[in-house]
């Protein structure tokens, strides 16, 4: 659960989550009205990924913006170009890992590469990219492998939660594939693709919900019991 120590971080987290809650559903709505929802596996729907990429980039700019002059100076010293290149390579590696992982979990190995690739790029965009953009390559690697703990850093906690939920959503999406209903949304990779998006979205909704709970708890102390319960659930992991 988030800490209340840093009001600024909390506000940032809330606003970025709210932004996600607005832009992702609108993208999905638009493509479903255009009738393209079931062709998300085609390479032709690459522009959706580009849209998500820019949205996430903007969000990460917002999250990274600091008023702290010290931090700005120290950042300016670093080699920006090299950083970007490194994160790009890391993103590609993550994409490849997702690609292989999805295949191991049961995606067709010899065909449907385009679809699998689209899914894995979506997952690396939603799950890995915000982390890299926020905390850099090394730190995000450590975070993903669970070596480093995010401690009391609210933003990182949110980002890690987001990526876990995205992967879980994609995992859960695969449940409907074997059913024999012959519907268009059972085509590979539509359920996993939508599952990843809805997992990400759900995680953001939870974030907003948690912040609301926290702020409400200041007024009504009875809510604290719910927060404790949620904390317990979380630490059981």
């Amino acid at each position: 659960m988030f800490s209340l120590n840093n009001q600024l971080e909390l506000r940032k987290v809330t606003i970025s989550s709210l932004l996600t809650c607005i832009y992702l559903p609108s993208i999905v709505t638009v493509i479903s009205y255009k009738g393209l929802l079931y062709s998300v596996g085609n390479g032709s729907s690459f522009y959706i990924l580009v849209l998500i990429f820019f949205a996430e980039l903007l969000k990460s700019f917002y999250l990274n913006a600091t008023n702290d002059i010290q931090a700005k100076r120290s950042k300016a010293n670093k080699n920006r170009v090299g950083d970007i290149l490194k994160s790009f390579v890391f993103l590609l590696v993550a994409l490849f890992c997702f690609f292989i992982g999805i295949m191991l979990f049961g995606a067709p190995i010899l065909d449907c590469h385009e679809e699998t690739l689209m899914l894995s790029s979506l997952m690396s965009l939603l799950a890995v990219f915000p982390l890299i953009a926020h905390s850099g390559v090394e730190a995000s690697m450590q975070l993903l492998f669970g070596i480093k703990n995010y401690g009391r850093d609210t933003i990182t906690e949110m980002l890690v939660n987001n990526s876990i939920m995205t992967v879980c959503g994609a995992w859960l999406g695969a449940v409907v594939i074997p059913l024999d209903w012959n519907t268009p949304w059972q085509q590979w990779p539509v359920p996993c693709y939508l599952g990843a998006i809805s997992g990400y979205l759900l995680s953001n909704v939870f974030t907003v919900f948690k912040v609301i709970l926290l702020s409400a708890a200041q007024k009504y102390p009875t809510i604290n019991s719910i927060i404790n319960f949620l904390n317990n659930l979380h630490s059981a992991k």
Partner: protein
């Protein structure tokens, strides 16, 4: 430490509970019928003498009428062929429900399926003497395969029509088609390939189409249409069978209340019109629906549309329309449209129309109203043929099976004999009609008796068996999850096990005594029920005695995420057995789930090495996908030939098989000391067996000899496993796993042997991941982690996955029989059936057996718990074994529940019941394996003095 064998005893006890409950469930659920290979034969009239006996040397001449009268007067005479023969066109319109054929001009807004077949109404009005329309009542199961069987044999098909070779799809019994072919008749088949698969090779011309694409409404019908009119013009056939599928598929896809149904029924109407126009006047036309379909439920929209398979009235009521240009027999008053006739009646009627006696297993009576008008003597001949055939069947069935009580059977046989005697006394029309009614009632009666045995489930024993399973699983779950691991040796050293075994023995004794004094009828049932209940009560008492410890452990322990996830995954894998689509795709879902559990465990470990091991395990699972094949319901894959389980192995497959065995044996040999020689020898024999027997140049006899050599080495190695050496159980267990692997690849054959190696490899990878699992503090906790439920669930899911991974599928048609014969034909041995059975069992469930036997390795691998001493090690191995066994028991329970829920489902015999059977098999194999593994561990772990 004498009590160390108590663990194995308890596991045996648990296995007995589970298996006996399964047995009880199967006895209530698996309706079976003995298939007899008898064939009815008839003697042509010209071979009869005038005295009604088969012709000897007498040469006196007499006319047919007289001859028939004489034959009738002689009740002992053999069946005589009917003198007249018709040609028949048999149109099977799949799922033609009776009300589709009705026409009611008063309906203002007809539903899509109403009033769509006006031709039938028209014909009924125009020439009532030439047409008949009946309700054609089907017996459940109303699935097409079972219906076609019933239509041609005239019997009531059950799930297991036990015969000598029940795996083949081919019909083993006498049937109307065979009867016609026997008399030299020619048959043309058009349409559904169910016929061609059931009765192959009997057709003059056959145009059969693949019928499993339920979404395709037109292909089969257009194909039949393109052929049928030409066929009607020809006259070289005696029977024309045409099977239209469109209406059925429209029902499955859209339900009866849909415009597509309207279109298909209109097509049918035009088709009928055209056929009737083209039909020569002396040819019989039978238009038949094999079953109906359910109504569309207007409230629920597209839920349960036009399906079939169950026993509702709408599904059972099909239509039967008969037409002959020159008129049909029977009186009009008795045969108004809408009379109910049974589907079993078709086979004898069809045979009679074609001048043959009814097929041997038929339980129907001849429908005189749909045959041409016959003279009285001919009618009587048909009736007495029918009765004689049924009498013969009753006698033969009584000889072969004890399903029906003997006194009942004797009563029926006597009644039949009486009716046969009466035939000669009939002279006038009025007497005949009384006689016909009598015969009809008698046969209905006989049919009812058989129906009770073949069609009704024994729901009481099913429910009791489910209760016993639940009891055993529940209390053992409490024990494994609740009892603290350090208390377990004390519990099992107490008098619990001996008292349990004594009480079970007493139960069995009481049951047999009661049976001896005839207080009980069904001793087996009573034994299973009483021992199950007593064991449940005992284990319950154990749980109550240790309730404090259990609650304390539950209060203290906090489950980790992967632990919860693994349990959820196991329950999920059991829960999806309720859905037919998941059962069909179960291979993929099991791989998915086990890989997911492994992923959560690895996530918890969080090292690169574990990740690499996970990835290689995933790769191994992905590789095993190429051996998975597919079943008939997986349409695309099936039609591409993925379902054809390979005949002889290709060259590449042979090289792969040799390579896999050689590599495994060579790598493993170095680590297992002198035992390595035995493994290498058996591996060499196996490789030589394949290599020598391969291809056209191979020598089958030598290859069989080599296989026997391999079995000999394997057997002696298995005996040598029990030689005590150093005080360590890891080595014997590893060798046991390897031996089972070699045995497995031997029975799988060269084509599938690498999949066994893949199974071994993935097991090995998991073995290496498990010791890395984090544990808090002392070694005792490490042992606790290693025997946690997540490991057991993972191991169980992997073991069940490799049933599919070794190229099997949960359908009876997928059982491979080649393994039974790889080392020679066991039928020449006195224990032939047992050898065949165990070889096929090993072929199917070898991997669960291997995983079960290797299970204690999970605890002992890489010096696990070496510090805590053998006592705790043994307890941990026992707990893990019990958990593993419970995992399989849970899956069996779920599939039994789903079979109970779906017992009238469309796919019950195609999907759910085979799944139940194979799940039970896997459970039995896993239980055997764990017992072997645990016994081996107990034998080899050093005894230790008790210090407490």
């Amino acid at each position: 430490m004498k009590e160390k064998w108590n663990f194995t005893l308890y596991l045996l006890w648990f296995s007995y509970l589970i298996l006996s409950a399964i047995l009880m469930f199967g006895r209530g659920f698996l309706l079976s019928r003995k298939t007899l290979n008898d064939v009815t034969d008839c003697v042509p009239l010209r071979d009869f003498g005038c005295d009604g006996h088969e012709k000897g040397n007498s040469t006196d001449v007499c006319n047919k009428e007289e001859k028939i009268r004489r034959i009738l007067a002689n009740p002992g005479a053999v069946i005589a062929c009917a003198p007249t023969r018709q040609r028949v066109v048999f149109l099977l319109v799949d799922a033609l429900r009776y009300d589709f054929t009705e026409y009611n001009p008063d309906i203002e807004n007809p539903l899509p399926y109403q009033n769509r077949l006006p031709i039938i109404k028209e014909m009924l009005e125009r020439s009532p003497n030439c047409t008949r329309l009946f309700r054609f009542m089907a017996d459940p199961p109303t699935t097409t395969l079972q219906r076609v069987k019933a239509l041609v044999t005239g019997s009531l098909p059950t799930f297991i029509d036990a015969s000598s070779n029940f795996a083949a799809m081919e019909l083993q019994e006498d049937n109307a088609i065979d009867q016609v072919v026997k008399a030299g008749g020619k048959i043309v088949l058009l349409g559904d390939d169910t016929w061609a698969r059931l009765i192959p090779g009997r057709w003059l011309r056959s145009h059969a189409m693949y019928s499993f694409h339920t979404w395709d409404l037109d292909t089969v019908d257009t194909e039949v249409d393109s052929k049928i009119y030409n066929e009607l013009k020809k006259d070289d056939w005696d029977l024309l069978v045409a099977h239209y599928l469109g209406v059925d598929h429209a029902g499955h896809r859209y339900g009866p209340n849909h415009a597509e149904m309207k279109r298909k029924l209109d097509e049918t109407n035009n088709r009928l019109k055209k056929v009737i126009e083209m039909l020569p006047p002396d040819v019989l036309l039978y238009v038949v629906g094999d079953h109906g379909m359910t109504e569309t439920d207007s409230q629920e929209g597209n839920e349960s549309v036009g399906d079939h398979g169950g026993e509702s009235k709408a599904e059972r009521t099909a239509a039967f329309f008969a037409y002959r240009g020159l008129g049909l027999g029977g009186d009009k008053e008795n045969n108004k449209p809408g009379k109910e006739v049974q589907q079993t009646d078709l086979a004898p009627t069809l045979s009679a129309a074609l001048g043959r006696p009814p097929p041997a297993p038929s339980l129907g009576n001849i429908l005189l109203p749909v045959l041409p008008t016959l003279p009285i003597s001919h009618t009587l001949l048909h009736l007495s043929n029918n009765l004689k055939q049924i009498k013969q069947y009753l006698v033969r069935y009584g000889e072969e099976s004890q399903q029906i009580p003997l006194d009942k059977l004797a009563h029926l046989i006597n009644a039949t004999r009486e009716q046969i005697d009466k035939a000669a006394t009939i002279g006038s029309e009025s007497e005949l009609s009384v006689y016909v009614t009598d015969v009809r009632t008698l046969i209905e009666n006989i049919r009812g008796v058989f129906r009770d045995v073949w069609v009704e489930f024994d729901s009481l024993s099913m429910l009791r068996a489910l209760l016993l399973l639940l009891l055993a699983i529940f209390f053992n779950c409490l024990i494994t999850e609740g009892l603290p691991i350090d208390k377990i040796p004390h519990v099992f050293a107490s008098s619990f096990i001996p008292s349990g075994i004594i009480s079970v023995t007493i139960c069995i004794g009481i049951c047999y005594t009661a049976f001896y004094f005839q207080l009980l009828e069904d001793v087996e049932h009573a034994v299973i029920l009483s021992t199950g209940l007593v064991s449940g009560a005992l284990i319950c008492a154990l749980v109550i005695m240790h309730w404090n410890g259990i609650t304390q452990r539950w209060y203290e322990t906090r489950l980790l995420f992967y632990e919860r996830f693994a349990r959820a995954a196991l329950v999920g894998s059991a829960a999806i057995l309720v859905s037919n689509s998941y059962i069909i795709e179960e291979g993929a879902s099991l791989a998915f789930l086990s890989l997911s559990i492994l992923a959560t465990i690895v996530w918890n470990i969080g090292t690169i090495k574990a990740l690499a091991l996970w990835a290689s395990c995933g790769i191994v699972l992905a590789l095993s996908r190429s051996y998975r094949g597919c079943r008939e319901e997986q349409g695309d894959c099936w039609t591409q030939g993925g379902g054809a389980s390979a005949g002889p192995a290709s060259r590449a497959a042979l090289v792969l098989a040799l390579g896999s065995v050689a590599a495994t044996v060579a790598v493993a040999r170095r680590h297992i000391g002198w035992r390595g020689h035995g493994v290498v020898l058996s591996g060499l024999f196996t490789c030589a067996h394949w290599a020598v027997g391969w291809g056209s140049l191979g020598s089958p006899s030598r290859s069989r000899l080599l296989a026997r050599g391999a079995w000999l080495v394997l057997g002696s190695m298995f005996v040598l496993l029990w030689r005590k050496e150093n005080r360590d159980a890891t080595l014997p267990l590893t060798v046991c796993g390897l031996l089972l692997y070699v045995a497995n690849s031997l029975v799988l054959g060269a084509a599938f042997a690498p999949s066994a190696a893949l199974a071994l490899l993935s097991g090995f990878l998991v073995l290496n991941i498990v010791p890395m699992m984090k544990s808090e503090g002392s070694t005792k906790f490490s042992l606790l982690t290693r025997c946690s439920s997540s490991v057991a669930c993972l191991w169980a899911l992997l073991a069940s996955y490799y049933f599919y991974g070794t190229g099997h599928h949960a359908t009876l048609g997928h059982i491979r029989w080649a393994p039974a014969f790889h080392a020679g034909d066991p039928n020449y041995l006195p224990i032939g059936p047992q050898v065949t059975g165990s070889l096929v069992f090993l072929d199917l469930f070898g991997v669960p057996l291997m995983f079960g036997a290797a299970l204690p390795l999970l605890v002992l691998w890489s010096r696990g718990g070496a510090a805590v001493g053998p006592r705790s090690q043994l307890a941990a191995a026992f707990i893990l074994s019990l958990k593993f066994a419970i995992c399989f028991a849970v899956r069996v329970f779920a599939s039994a529940i789903s079979a109970t829920i779906h017992c009238r489902h469309l796919m019950i015999w195609g999907v759910f019941t085979p799944k139940l059977l194979f799940e039970c098999g896997a459970c039995a194999a896993a239980l055997t394996g764990t017992v072997i593994g645990l016994a081996l561990t107990t034998w080899h772990l050093p005894t230790q003095q008790r210090h407490s």
